[in-house]
Amino acid sequence: MASGIVSIKVNGRAEEVVTGAVTTLQDVLRNNLDYTSVKDGCSQGGCGACSVIVDGELRLSCLTPVQEVDGSEVVTLEGLNLSNSITALQQKFIEKYAAQCGFCTPGMMVAITALLDRNANPSRDEIAEALAGNICRCTGYLPIIEAVESIVAEMAGIAGD
C-alpha cells in the first residue's frame, strides 16, 4: 500500500503522521498524539464527543480521514486550555453544574468555542442549535445553555464598559 505523510498542526505544534490506509483524525489525535480530551462516544457522527476545530471550523474527528486535513490547523480542548481562552467558560460550567459525568464536556467546550467565534452574542435559541450535535445524557442541557448564556452576558458587559 502506498503510504504518505500527512502534516498537520495540532494545538500549535507541527506533527507528521505516516499513513496509507484510511485513518480517522480522531484515532490520530487520541491514539498517536495522546490528546485524550477527544472522546469516542459513537464513531459515527452521532454524539459530538469527538468535536475538534479544523482551520477555524467545527468538525467531527471520527468521520474525518486524517488525509483530508493535510496542511490544516487542528485545535482540541488541550489547545484551548493552553491559550487560556476558555478559562472563564470553564468557570461558568463549574458554577452552573454544566458537567456531571464529564464525558461530553470536552466536545461541548469545543463546540461552544466554535459558536462564540462565529457569533459573540448568540440568543438562547442559537445556543441550543449550536450545541444540537453534542449529546449530553446527564445534565439535561439546561445548565450547559445557562453557562453559555452567562458567559455571553459577561462578555457583553465587558464589551459595553
Binding site: 485524550t36 472522546k39 488541550e78 459525568c101 464536556t105 445524557r137
Partner: protein
C-alpha cells in the same frame, strides 16, 4: 429546625472531578495509556434461541494479527455466573461464553484477541458456529404457558422461583375479593412498558493489564466494581487479591453499567496473552447487546368508593428479564413492595413475576423496578378519577398515606410527606383546590 440552620442540605456541593471534567483532563478508562495493547472483539449469536453443535475457530486463529481466540473451553473457573451470587441471590444461570445453547440474539460465544480492532473484527467474522435453531419465545405471558419453549433447566416454567417455592414476589394484605364485592366501582386495566436503553455517552468497556508481580490491573467504567471483581475472580478461579480493579470514573451509567460483561473475559485474555487487552463496546453493541431496562406488563384492578377511597387493589406484574436473571429478582421484589403506590389501601394483593424470554437480558435503570409501577399506577389513578367523576388531585390527596398508616407490606409510614408534596405541586402548577383539601396534612390521622 429551620432551613437556615442547615449547613449541608440546600447547599451546592461541588463534584470532586468537575475541575478536570471542564479541561478534558479527567482520565476515563480508555484514556489510560499502556504499551502493546491488544483488542478484544466478540463473536455473538445470530439467533435468539439455538443449540450450539460446534464452534470452529481455526480460520479466525490464522487470521492476520490474531493472538488468540477464547471459547467456553478456555474458562478456568466458573462457566456460569450471576452478579448477586456473592450476596446469596442466584442461582448462577448466565454463561460467560455460551456452550450448550444461545438464548438471545447477541449472546457472547467466542472472543477474538488481535493486534488491532480491525483485525479482531475481521477474525470475528471468520468464526464458524454450527447451530440448530430452536423455537423462541418473546412474550412474557406466552413464555409461562404450558408447552412454551423452555430456555433452561434452571427455570422449568420460564419464571424465577422465589424462596419457599413461590412463583411470584407477593403481598397479601386484608381481603381484596371481599372488598371488591363491597366497592361502588371496579376500575381495571393493563399497562405495558418497553425496554429502554440507558445510552450512556461512554460505552461499556475495560482495559486489563498484567503486572510484573502476577497481578492483573483492570481499568473499568463499571458501576459495580465490587460485583465485577468478585465475579471475575470466580470465573478465573483466582483469589481476589490477585486482581486490582480501578474504577469510579464512569462516562454515564444510569444502570447501564452494572452488567458484568467486559471485565471477566478481558481479564482472562490478558492472563492468557500476557499483554494488556482492551474490550470496548461499539455504539451498536451498547444499544443492542448491553442490557436495557426491562419491559414490564402490569395488570391493575381497583375497588373504589363513590367518595374516592380506594378500598382494594390487586396487581399482577410480569417482568421481562430477557434470557437470564441478572438483577431481576431484586428489581421485581422492589416493584412488588412499591405496588400499592404511595396510597393507604386496606386490602391489597400483589403478584410480581420474573419471566425469562429469548430477549436481551435486562438490568438496572434509574428507579429500578419502580418506574414501570409508578407509570401504571398513576395512569390508573387518572382513570379512576375519570370513572368516578372526581378531580385527580383530590383523589390522590384522599388516598395519600398519612403518618402512622400501615403500608400493605406491613411497614408503618414514617416521615410522611406525600400530602405536602401534592399540595406544593398544586401551588406551583396554579391548581386551585378547595379549602378542606388545602388544609390536609400528613398528620391528619395522628391528629384525629
Amino acid at each position: 429546625m429551620a432551613m437556615k440552620d442547615l449547613k449541608i442540605v440546600g447547599q451546592p456541593v461541588k463534584l470532586r472531578d468537575l475541575d478536570t471534567h471542564v479541561t478534558g483532563e479527567t482520565v476515563f478508562y480508555e484514556d489510560v495509556r499502556v504499551p502493546r495493547m491488544l483488542h478484544l472483539k466478540m463473536h455473538r449469536s445470530r439467533y435468539p434461541h439455538a443449540r450450539i453443535l460446534g464452534i470452529d475457530t481455526s480460520q479466525a486463529l490464522s487470521s492476520p494479527g490474531v493472538v488468540t481466540v477464547l471459547t467456553h473451553e478456555d474458562l478456568p473457573g466458573k462457566k456460569l455466573y450471576n452478579a448477586l451470587a456473592g450476596a446469596g441471590v442466584g442461582p448462577e444461570d448466565e454463561p460467560v461464553l455460551a456452550f450448550d445453547k444461545v438464548r438471545w440474539k447477541g449472546e457472547s460465544v467466542a472472543a477474538v484477541i488481535a493486534e488491532t480492532p480491525e483485525q479482531a473484527n475481521a477474525a470475528v467474522a471468520k468464526i464458524k458456529v454450527e447451530y440448530e435453531e430452536l423455537p423462541a419465545v418473546f412474550d412474557v405471558e406466552e413464555a409461562i404457558k404450558d408447552g412454551a419453549p423452555n430456555l433452561t433447566a434452571h427455570w422449568p416454567n420460564n419464571h424465577y422461583v422465589y424462596p419457599d417455592d413461590h412463583r411470584a414476589a407477593q403481598i397479601r394484605y386484608g381481603d381484596v375479593e371481599k372488598a371488591f364485592a363491597e366497592a361502588d366501582h371496579i376500575v381495571e386495566d393493563s399497562y405495558q412498558t418497553q425496554p429502554i436503553e440507558q445510552a450512556p455517552m461512554e460505552t461499556n468497556g475495560c482495559i486489563a493489564v498484567p503486572e510484573g508481580d502476577g497481578r492483573i490491573t483492570v481499568y473499568s467504567n463499571t458501576q459495580a466494581l465490587q460485583f465485577s471483581l468478585d465475579v471475575t475472580a470466580g470465573i478465573l478461579d483466582m483469589p481476589t487479591s490477585k486482581l486490582r480493579f480501578v474504577g469510579g470514573t464512569v462516562g454515564g451509567g444510569f444502570g447501564g453499567k452494572v452488567d458484568i460483561q467486559p471485565e471477566p473475559i478481558t481479564t482472562l485474555a490478558a492472563l492468557r496473552t500476557g499483554r494488556p487487552v482492551k474490550f470496548k463496546y461499539t455504539r451498536e453493541e451498547e444499544m443492542q447487546v448491553s442490557s436495557s431496562r426491562s419491559a414490564w406488563r402490569v395488570y391493575v384492578k381497583d375497588g373504589v368508593m363513590n367518595d374516592g377511597r380506594i378500598i382494594a387493589r390487586k396487581v399482577t406484574t410480569y417482568q421481562d428479564s430477557g434470557a437470564y436473571l441478572r438483577f431481576s429478582s431484586y428489581a421485581c421484589m422492589k416493584h412488588c413492595g412499591h405496588m400499592p403506590g404511595p396510597y393507604t389501601i386496606p386490602n391489597v394483593s400483589v403478584d410480581s413475576i420474573v419471566v425469562f424470554t429469548n430477549r436481551t437480558p435486562s438490568n438496572a435503570m434509574r428507579g429500578f423496578g419502580v418506574m414501570a409501577g409508578s407509570f401504571a399506577l398513576e395512569v390508573q389513578m387518572d382513570k379512576i378519577a375519570e370513572t368516578i367523576g372526581m378531580d385527580p388531585w383530590e383523589l390522590r390527596l384522599i388516598n395519600a398515606y398519612r403518618e402512622g398508616d400501615m403500608k400493605a407490606h406491613r411497614k408503618e409510614v414514617e416521615d410522611a410527606g406525600m400530602v405536602e408534596s401534592i399540595l406544593a405541586a398544586a401551588e406551583m402548577a396554579g391548581k386551585q383546590l378547595p379549602e378542606n383539601f388545602r388544609n390536609m396534612s400528613s398528620l391528619d390521622r395522628k391528629a384525629g
